[in-house]
Symmetry: C2
Subunit: 146 residues, 2 copies
Amino acid sequence: MRDIDIAEVAALSGVRASTLRFYEEKGLIASHGRRGLRRLFDSAVLDRLALIALGRASGFSLDEIARMFAPDGRPRIDRKMLSAKADELDRTIRRLNSMRDGLRHAAVCPAPSHMECPTFRRLLRVAAAGKISEPRKAKKAQRKRS
Amino acid sequence: MRDIDIAEVAALSGVRASTLRFYEEKGLIASHGRRGLRRLFDSAVLDRLALIALGRASGFSLDEIARMFAPDGRPRIDRKMLSAKADELDRTIRRLNSMRDGLRHAAVCPAPSHMECPTFRRLLRVAAAGKISEPRKAKKAQRKRS
DNA sequence: CTGCCAGTTCAAGTGAACTTGAGGTCAAGG
DNA sequence: CCTTGACCTCAAGTTCACTTGAACTGGCAG
């Protein structure tokens, strides 16, 4: 339970200071006090950030995550919600699987135009049908220069 | 190759008229002419829209998609890019799989607090490590009232 | 001919999740 | 003591993919 300052939290968690301030404003994390102006965080904030990362990765919005460990402080996670999210994730995974297979096929398909390939056309039907969740860009460590 | 108007395209594709205009402005689709003010689309636009849906579903941005069948018109899709995207999708799927398993576990885990559950803590590490692409909300047919 | 109404344009708004900029403060080092 | 630089606040900006609103147009039914 040592106090660490925002720069250290940023370094340890990989989350930028501006994001940490933003998260605090949203009520996702809390600073424990100040030294001068500087926020002091409890080292437990690192677990909290991991939890937030988990939530984001599982498709929860920040608001949903905030609601998860809301009023008191410690994570009170709704098991029903988790289950539902797992199911949703499952459906997404299934669709992404067909997408991947289709892309993989299209990449090697000998048909002169993709539009003439039956596999590609089937893929198109899948895509046109289930509107799919949007995976957007993977943003890995988008760490630009200092 | 019949001409169809925007309302019909919307009805057949499930894409809203405003989105179709937006896509046209972005150069993703093209209208073939006008009857009065009204756009006329070639029915081939439906294939194009399926292609766009496919691209979006696979994680391409609209700009990337636009570049795919850019200057001339017909889809000249870079097989290398497809392959790369398939790989990326594959990695995303793998991560989502652990997420789902972890969520599933957390939903039934008997530990008094999730933080005390080793499986949950492992999940946390996965989430904290790979920053994962964001699946965001599934938006299926988000057809609100008129 | 008259209106209707679905279409049109263009600008601005939305929402999520942050980032950036301007201007200010303060603990610590020289 | 005074400068420095990391941190602070608050507002505004950014990106993406659209949606909405206001004001307008024109084909077609009556």
